[in-house]
């Protein structure tokens, strides 16, 4: 009980002798923390007007945030009565230790398989990575939703990163009727793909006769395009193929079932077996 009283008395002594400095240091720290977040936000906005490189923006603004934060901590500590040299040394040692630990254990630290600005698919969510924190990843979907996914969940799930490869293969599958000219249809599809400026010359676009389905012949066009242009190129190619087939009188097949009706002699029952006399 007595020791508790001594402790409280000591705190009271410190507050009476250094209270003003400590209060100032605390105010300085709080204001500094708010200011660092505020300035970093505006720096990020300003940089986004100069460059579209999200990685560069992230590196510059994060570096600024850390340096500003260190400066705030240093000034607040000296305000509280600590010697500037000691605080500086402590921060340096802590910083170097953190960097050392990161370098040493980096191979063992699970890292996220994407960067800010990448288009990824995690589970059912497809979108662009806007930001990553220690806890979660913020993704903006193409229909304008902002989705927060816990990094723990991402590390356990299958992630498709569409930025790892520069190009992507477009599939244009069309079914034509059995009575249609396959070679003519293949020629038209290949012409359309070759003529499109977005389709790569190598690997060359190809059209395969993929399958003989129940009521159509399946033709498969394959062409390579730059990843960002994948979706719109695919839509354009499908539209062009449809119209050109209409123009060239190539009938696109639709699911159909042919029913054949035969007249059976009266001596046959419904199962087709002859009725004994």
């Amino acid at each position: 009980m007595e020791s508790e009283f001594v402790k409280l008395q000591r705190i009271g002594d410190i507050m009476s002798s250094h209270g003003r400095e400590l209060a100032f240091a605390l105010i300085f720290l709080i204001v500094g923390l708010y200011l660092s977040k505020f300035l970093t936000k505006y720096l990020r906005l300003g940089l986004s007007r100069i460059t579209n490189n999200l990685n560069l923006i992230s590196i510059i603004s994060n570096s600024f945030y850390i340096l500003f934060l260190l400066a705030v901590i240093m000034v607040a500590s000296t305000q509280a009565g600590f010697k500037a040299q000691i605080v500086f040394r402590f921060l340096m040692v802590a910083g170097l230790a953190a960097v050392g630990i990161l370098v040493l254990f980096r191979p063992y630290i699970p890292s996220l398989p994407y960067k800010v600005g990448n288009t990824i698919k995690v589970g059912d969510v497809l979108g662009k990575v806007e930001a990553t924190t220690f806890l979660n990843t913020r993704i903006k979907t193409f229909d304008g939703l902002t989705v927060f996914i816990p990094n723990r969940q991402i590390l356990d799930d299958i992630v498709i990163n569409y930025h790892f490869t520069g190009t992507r293969r477009v599939k244009v599958d069309v079914g034509i009727g059995y009575d249609q000219d396959i070679l003519k249809a293949k020629r038209i599809m290949e012409e359309i793909m070759l003529a499109d400026p977005r389709v790569k010359k190598t690997p060359r676009p190809v059209v395969y006769t993929m399958d003989l389905e129940d009521s159509w012949v399946k033709l498969g066009g394959r062409a390579w395009v730059d990843n960002p242009k994948f979706w719109i190129t695919r839509c354009d190619l499908i539209e062009k193929v449809k119209y050109r087939f209409d123009k060239e009188n190539i009938r696109i097949a639709f699911p159909q079932l042919d029913i054949h009706h035969y007249e059976l002699p009266e001596s046959f029952d419904l199962a087709g077996e002859e009725i004994p006399a």
């Binding site: 012409e191 003529a195 389709v199 719109i232 354009d236 050109r244 123009k247």
Partner: protein
């Protein structure tokens, strides 16, 4: 002939790959008829003829009036050209097409 050479022959002789598309149109400014393009010749062309034809159609829709006479502000001879300035066939009909033809 090696296959690479054969492919070069095919590429140069069969299908021409355009590098981009622009919408060509003419309009009256004062007493003169000027030819303009969208996107401008200084800007990068569109990489989709589908998008270019859609723009051409929208320009026609936006500038057509009940009065069929060519006048101030009205756009005529709207069609799509390639990077060489050559008229491009309309992908729907595979024929040349001109909106507001005068």
């Amino acid at each position: 002939m090696k296959i690479g050479q054969a492919l070069k022959v095919i590429d140069t002789g069969w299908i021409k790959k355009d590098k981009g598309y622009r919408v060509h149109y003419q309009r009256q400014t004062g007493n003169e008829v000027t030819t303009e393009y969208t996107p401008d010749l200084d800007d990068a062309p569109l990489d989709s003829d589908v998008a270019a034809w859609r723009t051409a159609w929208k320009l026609q829709q936006a500038t057509q009036t009940e009065n069929s006479e060519f006048g101030e502000g009205k756009m005529i001879n709207i069609y799509v050209v390639n990077d060489q300035g050559e008229q491009v066939k309309y992908y729907k009909t595979n024929e040349l097409k001109i909106y507001n033809k005068v």
